[in-house]
Symmetry: C2
Subunit: 156 residues, 2 copies
């Protein structure tokens, strides 16, 4: 993709909505992530998980954050001049994501502002992950704000 | 481990410090995580990463969060009555972690408070990840607050 075709700071404005991706979680990937990073029974042991507060084998909250990142990269950053972010806002986990749940990530631009280095600016998003079961509306899984740096299109 | 030997809500108090673990990051694990969850050149391509803002192949911020979780589980939750957490506070990434950097996670109890369900309470921690190079003091990588639920020892 040519540099000119990438989304730059100037191409974002408040209210824009990006549909970033969908994904259905399998037991294998929930267990694989948790075995490496969050080895607790509700995330690694299907039998024990049935008796946990989450009601069944459920993805680690950190796994959901990582999956959100992947959907942001594939759905947006790959065609934009993203320069990373200095951190991520508070992430509330509202509902668990169980095996077979389909998740979806959307992003809305809240505001844009120039940064001190004149070649870049911050775009602040609200990312929303929802969970979709058969024949039901989406349920909020997590929602968080995130200010991401993008290069400017115009040399200044 | 017997239930009685686990750390319960009543066993935590403000000011307690937990040394949670150390880990040295390899290029292979940085690339493996990023290939799955954060496929951007600064995390997946050692050559391209040299020219990035991070100065070399660096772990994804989400990878650092996941590694912190693993150190919390191994260093604390595995011997405690952790019941999970409803979310995680804002996570600022202050400095990158490059290949070969040794990271360390410490946790300090900020406060404890009972929850509405009488069988549990919240323990709020400040977790601090530092990066250690040869013969230098630790550099702050990230620091974040987190309120985690623990079962109470006494039936009430």
């Amino acid at each position: 993709m040519n540099e000119a075709d990438l989304l730059h700071f100037e191409d974002f404005r408040a209210g824009q909505i990006f549909r970033l991706g969908r994904h259905t979680l399998t037991a294998e990937e929930i267990i694989a992530f948790a075995s490496e990073f969050d080895p607790q029974p509700q995330h690694t042991d299907p039998e024990a998980a049935k008796h946990s507060m989450l009601g069944g084998l459920a993805a680690s909250g950190w796994h959901l954050g990582a999956l959100a990142m992947r959907m942001m990269v594939d759905g947006l950053f790959i065609r934009a001049t993203s320069m990373g972010a200095p951190g991520v806002d508070e992430i509330p986990w509202r509902k668990p994501v169980l095996v077979g749940d389909r998740i979806r990530l959307d992003g809305e631009v809240l505001d844009t502002r120039l940064s001190s280095p004149p070649d870049r600016g911050f775009v602040r998003f609200r990312f929303t992950m929802t969970r979709h079961e058969e024949r039901r509306n989406g349920t909020l899984v997590m929602m968080f704000g995130w200010a991401v740096m993008f290069r400017r299109r115009v040399a200044v």
